[in-house]
Symmetry: D2
Subunit: 147 residues, 4 copies
């Protein structure tokens, strides 16, 4: 399956259902913006409740949506009856995380039966301006189970 | 200064003040549990608002407190008038993140004038049981500024 | 300066001179294949002396050329009188490292006065076939000095 | 099995046999110094052939022995008929890598049936002096096969 290609609506529904069960995404105010084959985008609008000490987005918010975006990017390629777990991830915070919202894009680089590797990128969006705020890498494992 | 040793109360206050300005820590319900020289502990009590799709703590919550714990561990060793930024971090999620609360310990491995490297560890605490849920590494940079 | 663009011949010479002083590159048999602005390619032909226990390239060889490729990609953008040091790097080994040679490409994602972040990719090349064997990220620091 | 405890001599032999098949370890001049349960030490004596441009050990040499030390630390806990592959590793280079030799210690933090996580540490040894030159983390996967 081509990364970035169209997905079966049933798969998109499974991703959305799983996302909706993540209490943290709702608590942060994150939304699932786009679900393609092996590529998922999550948006996080700015709120005072998401800041670090200088008033920008806290790296924890950046990581939260980056981790979920990568996790669902991998999950979108898994066979039914599989669940996804994050094995590890690494994030470089390359610019101050500010803007009207953050946009995290998780994209599968290497799909696999057991392990899947994703690239993670987070952008700070302010009107027409998009600043690359974080880039990283994530390893996922597919296990038997739901979601 | 010995890592894990006692700090000047003025430094502890600077750490607490900076922590209190992190909107995300309050929003997640995290508390600064202990501040020693180069070693900081943050606690995050379990709430439905912090979960991933299987009902455990979301890796985003784990990362948020790990990043702040490491950041303040480094910051506690910086001279006054310095601020701390996370350059990058990497986390391995080694056990399901469950328990009454998570406890993140950031500990400076290599202090430096410009860069500081921390070890990050997160434990899931349930009564007397402590499970190691995440371990990682973080690079910090000291910049001029407040907090 | 545009990443991947042409460099002043004096800068290319500085990169080549520094590369030639790396005893390890010669010992492994690695060659500097291409030097562009913020993007450097290093090739490593297969030899029995570079293997792990299954006869493929050892991850140490993969890392060696990935680290040097990223280091020189950053260095190519530094002002004269600067030296480059690797702060940290992370590599995911996504396919068995085999082929006639490995090709490591280091590419600057975020240039900076103090810190520079590179993407690292390594390919196994066999005739017309190119297999993505490793992908990663690297943080560099610019310090005063030579090379 | 306790990490750092004694191993069955047959397991030590399997580790040594596999190490001896790594062409790169011989080419670099690395030696297997100690094999305990889940903890392996590899030594790399200084040679001009291992340097970077400033005359210190190249990060590629540091990584090579760190990766092998961690790999064999994990492998020492695997059941017979298993092989080990590195999924990913991350290394922070915290001090200049110099000394009469480098000593890499890989130590299992989290053993697992499929995935194993190791801590990696490398020391530069000069007479009585030991300097911590690198610290990192590694994820291994156990697959069916030999070594």
């Amino acid at each position: 399956m081509e990364i970035g290609g169209k997905l079966d609506p049933a798969v998109i529904r499974r991703v959305q259902d799983s996302f909706d069960r993540q209490g943290l995404m709702a608590h942060l105010g994150a939304e699932l913006a786009e679900v393609k084959a092996g590529q998922v985008t999550i948006r996080l609008p700015f709120r005072q409740e998401l800041t670090q000490q200088h008033g920008y987005f806290h790296a924890g918010g950046t990581s939260s949506i980056a981790d979920s975006a990568g996790g669902y990017a991998g999950y979108s390629l898994f066979p039914e009856g599989s669940a996804v777990l994050t094995v590890e991830f690494k994030l470089n915070l390359i610019n101050p995380a500010r803007g009207e919202w953050l946009e995290a894009i998780g994209r599968v680089i290497k799909p696999g039966r057991t392990l899947t590797v994703c690239q993670l990128d987070v952008w700070g969006v302010d009107g027409e301006q998009r600043i690359h705020v974080a880039t990283g890498m994530q390893t996922l494992i597919s296990v038997k189970g739901d979601a």
